[in-house]
C-alpha cells in the first residue's frame, strides 16, 4: 500500500524506534512457555527410539504405570491419530514402526520431571532393527526399503503436491519453462556439478515447550512456544476431529523459532497425556538433545545443476535436480521442495529451465521449515555453480552474475514478469561489491597478507526469495480505542524476536498521526481472543500485517470521523484530525477528542451515540495462483526480496584455517520501516547462515543414528566467530502493494552467504568445495586435491562425453579428446550441429 508519500514528512516510518518488547526482556520479566505454571500441572517425558528403522515388537509399560506419581503412560497404540501439514503421515507416537532415530515411542505424565524421567526408564521396548533407507539419491532404487509403505493411503493437499505411492517420494515438483534441450544445443558450453549439504538444526535458544490441557467435554487449552497459533489450532482440529472453537491456543513470549516452531509439534502429545490424566495440564519441555532428533531439523539436499551457457556469459538453459533429504515425515519438506523448486536458479534469468525436485523420505530426523525455506540450501549449490561457470568461461564471477541477473522485463522461472518495482538485485550486488572493494586488494589488505602469510579472497553472491505461502494467505488487524485515547491491537502474527511488532506500531502511529507511545501491541496471541492469521513464517508478516494495520488505522479514523461528524454537526469532508482530536478544518477549536469518543460519545445531558470504537483491517495476498503441477508456471510470489552479500576471507593455504574479515550485505527492502530491526535481521540471519556455512550439520553413522545431538559436537557461531567487519545496506525500490512500499527481509540474510564463503575461499587459495559446512579440515582436504585438479577436469569432461554415447566406459583412448579445448577454438556460427562441451566433476567423497 504505497501512497504518494513525501518520505520526509514521515514521523515514525524509517525512523529509529526502540523495540516495544525490550524492557520486559532485559529485566527478565517476559514470561515464556517454560515459565508458566498451572494448578495441578504434570510434567511429560518422552521415550525415544535409539534406532533409525525398526519394528516395535513389544512395549511393556506396566512398571512405569505402577510408579507412584505417574498419571498417564501412552504408547502408539493408544493414539490412532495422524498429524501432518500437507501430507498427513505422522502418528503422535510411533505405532508398530519406528522411522527415525529419536522418534517418540512412548510418553509419560507425572507429578515431577524426576518421576516422569524415572518412569520412562522403566518402559521396556523390544525392537526388531531393520535396514534403514538413508541416501536420498537412491530414491529410484526399486529394492530400497520404503519409509512409508502406506503412502498411497495418506491424505494430502492434492492441488499442490504429488506424492508417488510405492516409492520414497513424498512429493515431486516439476517446472518446465521454454525448451531446455534446445537450449543445451544452442549452448557453447555445458557445465554440470553436484552440491550437497546435510541436515541442520535451527537451535532457537528456547527449546520447544508446550502445555496442554484436554478437559472433559473436549475443550482444549494449549500454551505453547510456537510461531503460528492458528495453524496449531487448525492442525489439531483436523487430527482429532474436534471443532475449532473448542480449541484455544495461547502463545506467550517465544525464544526464537526460525521455522522450527512453525507447524505443530509437542502440542498433540501434551494434550493426549492430559486427557489420559483426567484433564490435568501437562507440560513438555524438550531437552536440547531432543531438539536435535525428536523435533525436526532442516532437510539435507543433493543438488545437481547442469547449465548451458554462451561464450558471452549468457545462460541459455539449466536443468536442476533436487533430492531433498526430508527424513521420516513430510512436514514442511514437501513445501520446501515446491518453493525452492520454483526459485531454484536464484535471482538469475533462465530462458529454458527444467526442474525436478523430489522430497525423499529417509530414515532420519525429519525436515521442516527453516529460515530461508530451502533457499539457503540450494543457493549454496547455485552460487558455487555460478562461480564455477564463470571460471570456465573466464569471466569475472560478478560480471557473469550481472549479465544474468533478473531485471525489468525478465521472466522468472514460473513465467512471472519482473517489473521496475519488483526490486533491484544488480544494485544490491554493486553496493556490496563496492563495500568490500571487490576485484582488488586494498593496500591494507596487501599488508595484511604480507604480515599473516595468508591469502585473502573476495566474492559477491546474490539471492532472492518470495514468501512460500498459499495464494489465499490473509490476516486481520483490530485496533481497539481505549478510554484514554490509546489503542490496543489485536491480531495473530507472532513476534518471536524479529521486531515486526515494533514496525507495526510505527506503521499504525504513522497512519493515525498519534504518538507511538499510545499504540499498544501485546506480545501474547490467543486464538480465542485475537483474529485469524495464517502463520508467522515466510517473511510475509510485515507486508500482510502491515497492510492490515494501515487499513485498521484508517478504519479507526474513519469511525472517529463518523462520531465527530455527528457530534460537531459537520460533514466528514470538512474534518481533519491531530494526535488528540478530530476537528473542523476551518474551525479548529470545534473538536472532539478521542477520549470523548472512545467508549461512545456522550452529550452533556447524557445522551450517547455510536458506542465503543474499533478499527478493523483485513488484507489478503492479491493475484496469486497455485502453480501448474505439470510445468510449475503461475504466480506464486507475494513479493520478491532481492539481496546480495560481499565477503572477504583470509585463508591459511597450508592448514585450511580461515577467518572472515568482512561481510557486506544489501537487501532491496522496498522501504525501511525500522533501521535497527532491518539491521538486526540482516546481521542475525547472516551469522546464522555462516553457522550453516562453517560448522553446523548432522553427522550419522551407517545405521542412521545421529552422532552429534548436542552443542558439544554441533557447534553454532559464538561472538568470537563473527566477521571482523559487518556492513548492512538497504536498497529501497518501493513495493507497490507493500506498507509504505516495504517488503519482508526476515529470511533473506541467511541465504547465499554460504556460497559467498565457499567462493571467497576458492578465490583465495583455490580450494574447490561442493559440500557445506566448510570446516577448516575440509579446506585442507580440498587443498590436498588441488594439485590433481587439472587432469581431473579433462578426464571428467570425457567421462560425460562417453556417457552420452550410451554408457560405454571411458577407455584410455578417449582421453585424447579434450572436448573443452576443441570447442573453444571453433568459430561462432559453425557450432549448430556440434555437441557442446560438458564438464562434470564428481563430488569428492566425504566422511
Amino acid at each position: 500500500m504505497l501512497d504518494n508519500l513525501n518520505k520526509k514528512s514521515l514521523k515514525y516510518v524509517g525512523k529509529a524506534t526502540r523495540r516495544i518488547d525490550a524492557v520486559e526482556k532485559i529485566t527478565g520479566q517476559a514470561l515464556y512457555a517454560g515459565d508458566l505454571e498451572f494448578a495441578g500441572m504434570l510434567h511429560g517425558k518422552i521415550l525415544r527410539s535409539p534406532h533409525a528403522r525398526a519394528k516395535i515388537k513389544k512395549i511393556d509399560v506396566s512398571k512405569a504405570r505402577c510408579l507412584e506419581g505417574v498419571h498417564a503412560v501412552l504408547t502408539g497404540h493408544d493414539l490412532d491419530y495422524r498429524v501432518g501439514l500437507y501430507l498427513v503421515d505422522k502418528y503422535i507416537l510411533a505405532r508398530d514402526t519406528v522411522r527415525h532415530f529419536g522418534e517418540a515411542v512412548a510418553a509419560v505424565a507425572a507429578e515431577t520431571p524426576a518421576i516422569a524421567r524415572k518412569a520412562i526408564e522403566l518402559i521396556e521396548v523390544e525392537y526388531e532393527v531393520q535396514t534403514p533407507f538413508l541416501d536420498p539419491k537412491n530414491v529410484f532404487d526399486k529394492k530400497a526399503p520404503l519409509v512409508h509403505p502406506e503412502l498411497g493411503s495418506y491424505d494430502y493437499v492434492q492441488a499442490v503436491f504429488t506424492p508417488i505411492p510405492g516409492t520414497n517420494i513424498a512429493n515431486h515438483t516439476k517446472l518446465r519453462k521454454g525448451d531446455v534441450e534446445k537450449g543445451f544445443k544452442d549452448s557453447d558450453l555445458i557445465i554440470e556439478r553436484e552440491y550437497t549439504n546435510p541436515n541442520v538444526q535451527h537451535v532457537p535458544m528456547e527449546t520447544h515447550i508446550a502445555i496442554g490441557k484436554w478437559d472433559i467435554g473436549d475443550r482444549i487449552t494449549i500454551h505453547t512456544s510456537a510461531q503460528s497459533p492458528f495453524t496449531v489450532r487448525n492442525l489439531f482440529a483436523h487430527a482429532f476431529k474436534i471443532p475449532h472453537s473448542n480449541i484455544r491456543v495461547f502463545i506467550p513470549y517465544v525464544g526464537g523459532g526460525f521455522g522450527g516452531k512453525a507447524g505443530i509439534h509437542l502440542e498433540p502429545l501434551c494434550c493426549c497425556l492430559s486427557k489420559a490424566a483426567g484433564g490435568r495440564p501437562v507440560k513438555i519441555q524438550a531437552t536440547r538433545e531432543e531438539e536435535f532428533s525428536l523435533l525436526p531439523c532442516r532437510s539435507g539436499l543433493v543438488y545437481q545443476i547442469k547449465t548451458g551457457v554462451k561464450k558471452n556469459g549468457k545462460i541459455v538453459a539449466q536443468k536442476m535436480t533436487m533430492f531433498w533429504d526430508a527424513g521420516a515425515y513430510a512436514d514442511y519438506a514437501v513445501n520446501v521442495t515446491r518453493a525452492s523448486g520454483f526459485s531454484a536458479s536464484g535471482p538469475y534469468e533462465i530462458e529454458n529451465a527444467w526442474v525436478d525436485a523430489y522430497t525423499v523420505y529417509t530414515n532420519k530426523p525429519f525436515g521442516t521449515a527453516y529460515r530461508g525455506f530451502g533457499h539457503v540450501e540450494f543457493s549454496w549449490g547455485m552460487e558455487r555453480h555460478m562461480n564455477y561457470i564463470a571460471q570456465k568461461l573466464n569471466i569475472d564471477p560478478l560480471k557473469f552474475r550481472l549479465i544474468n541477473a533478473l531485471k525489468p522485463g525478465s521472466k522468472t522461472m514460473t513465467g512471472e514478469e519482473v517489473v521496475e518495482n519488483t526490486g533491484n538485485v544488480s544494485k544490491c550486488m554493486q553496493a556490496v561489491a563496492e563495500s568490500i572493494n571487490y576485484g582488488r586488494l586494498t593496500a591494507e589488505e596487501k599488508a595484511r597478507e604480507k604480515k599473516t602469510g595468508r591469502k585473502i579472497g573476495k566474492s559477491v553472491v546474490a539471492l532472492q526469495k518470495a514468501p512460500a505461502m498459499p495464494p489465499f494467505t490473509g490476516t486481520v488487524m483490530i485496533l481497539k480505542l481505549n478510554e484514554d485515547g490509546s489503542v490496543t491491537a489485536s491480531h495473530s502474527l507472532t513476534d518471536y524476536g524479529m521486531g515486526t511488532y515494533t514496525s507495526l506500531a510505527q506503521i499504525i502511529a504513522e497512519v493515525l498521526r498519534w504518538p507511538i507511545e499510545r499504540i499498544r501491541i501485546p506480545i501474547e496471541t490467543d486464538t480465542d481472543r485475537d483474529p485469524y492469521d495464517w502463520q508467522t513464517v515466510a517473511s510475509k508478516g510485515l507486508l500482510l500485517s502491515g497492510n492490515a494495520a494501515i487499513l485498521a488505522a484508517r478504519d479507526l479514523l474513519d469511525k472517529c470521523y463518523d462520531v465527530a461528524a455527528q457530534a460537531l454537526r459537520a460533514q466528514k469532508c470538512d474534518l481533519d484530525h491531530d494526535a488528540e482530536a478530530v476537528f473542523v478544518r476551518h474551525h479548529a477549536a470545534h473538536r472532539v477528542t478521542y477520549q470523548q469518543m472512545a467508549v461512545g460519545y456522550a452529550y452533556p445531558n447524557g445522551n450517547a451515540i455510536c458506542g465503543p470504537i474499533v478499527g478493523v483491517g483485513r488484507y489478503i495476498a492479491q493475484g496469486l495462483t497455485n502453480l501448474n503441477k505439470e510445468n510449475g508456471q503461475g504466480n506464486p510470489a507475494l513479493d520478491w526480496t532481492y539481496g546480495a552479500h560481499g565477503l572477504t576471507v583470509e585463508v591459511d593455504e597450508k592448514t585450511g584455517e580461515y577467518k572472515i574479515i568482512k561481510v557486506a550485505s544489501a537487501y532491496d527492502v522496498g522501504c525501511v520501516i525500522n533501521e535497527a530491526s532491518v539491521r538486526g535481521q540482516a546481521i542475525g540471519g547472516m551469522i546464522q547462515g555462516l553457522g550453516t556455512a562453517m560448522c553446523e550439520g548432522y553427522l550419522y553413522n551407517g545405521k542412521g543414528q545421529l552422532l552429534n545431538p548436542s552443542f558439544t559436537d554441533n557447534k553454532i557461531p559464538t561472538s568470537l566467530d563473527i566477521p571482523e567487519e559487518i556492513d548492512c545496506i538497504a536498497i529501497e525500490t518501493p513495493q507497490i502493494d507493500g506498507p509504505f512500499g516495504a517488503r519482508g527481509v526476515g529470511e533473506h540474510s541467511m541465504i547465499a552467504v554460504c556460497g559467498a564463503l565457499g567462493n571467497a575461499i576458492e578465490e583465495a587459495v583455490g580450494a574447490n568445495l561442493t559440500h557445506m559446512p566448510i570446516r577448516q579440515e575440509d579446506v585442507w582436504k580440498a587443498l590436498q586435491k588441488k594439485g590433481r585438479k587439472a587432469s581431473e577436469k579433462v578426464i571428467s569432461a570425457v567421462v560425460t562425453e562417453e556417457k552420452t554415447r550410451r554408457g560405454r566406459k571411458p577407455g584410455k583412448k578417449a582421453i585424447e579428446a579434450p572436448v573443452v579445448k576443441a570447442k573453444r577454438g571453433r568459430k561462432p556460427g559453425t557450432k549448430k550441429a556440434e555437441k557442446p562441451a560438458e564438464i562434470k566433476v564428481e563430488k569428492p567423497k566425504r566422511g
Binding site: 526502540r18 532485559i26 529485566t27 535458544m205 525464544g255 548436542s710 558439544t712 561472538s719 568470537l720
Partner: protein, 161 residues
C-alpha cells in the same frame, strides 16, 4: 537439605533436594524465572548468573553447593524500578531480539564491565563467547556494551542507498 543463600541481596532459607540444580532452584523454588535454561549442559550460557562475584552456568551447580553463597540474577539488575545503564544500552541499541539469551548476556557483560570499564571490541567478544545468541549475530549486543562503557562513538547504522 536446608540451605541459606542471598539472591539479589535478599536472604532465602529453603529445604532443597540434593539432585536439584541451582538453575531449577532459582526458577522453581524462588520463582525467579528470568534465568533461562538453554541446554542444561553448560554450553549455551542462557542460565548465567553471578555467584560470589563470578559468572557461572547455574545448570552445572547443585543448589546445595550454593549454600552460603551470594547470587545475582537478572532480576537484580534494575534497581528501584530503574533500568541499569547496561540495560538501557541494550534497549537503545536493539541488542535484544527473542530475549531468551538476554538475561545471561547482560550478566556476562556486567561481569566484564565490573573488571574492565573500557573494554575493547575484542575483549567484549571474548567476554560473551560463553553466551550463545541465535538471533542477533552478536553485533548489536557488542555495540550495546560499547555504549554502556561510553565508547560507542557514532551509532552504527544501516546504510541506505
Amino acid at each position: 537439605m536446608k540451605i541459606s543463600l542471598k539472591v539479589n541481596g535478599k536472604k532465602y532459607t529453603r529445604e532443597v533436594e540434593t539432585n536439584k540444580n541451582l538453575l531449577h532452584f532459582i526458577r522453581e523454588d524462588l520463582g525467579l524465572t528470568g534465568t533461562k535454561e538453554g541446554c542444561g549442559a553448560g554450553e549455551c550460557g542462557a542460565c548465567t548468573i553471578i555467584m560470589n562475584g563470578k559468572t557461572v552456568n547455574s545448570c552445572l551447580i547443585l543448589a546445595v553447593e550454593a549454600n552460603g553463597c551470594e547470587i545475582e540474577t537478572i532480576e537484580g539488575e534494575a534497581k528501584n524500578g530503574k533500568l541499569s545503564k547496561l540495560q538501557k544500552a541494550f534497549h537503545e541499541n536493539h541488542a535484544v531480539q527473542c530475549g531468551f539469551c538476554t538475561p545471561g548476556m547482560i550478566l556476562s557483560a556486567r561481569a566484564l564491565l565490573e573488571k574492565n570499564a573500557k573494554p575493547t571490541v575484542e575483549q567484549i567478544k571474548e567476554a560473551i563467547e560463553g553466551n550463545f545468541c541465535r538471533c542477533t549475530g552478536y553485533q548489536q549486543i557488542i555495540e550495546a556494551v560499547q555504549d554502556a562503557s561510553g565508547q560507542l562513538k557514532k551509532k552504527e547504522g544501516l546504510k541506505r542507498a
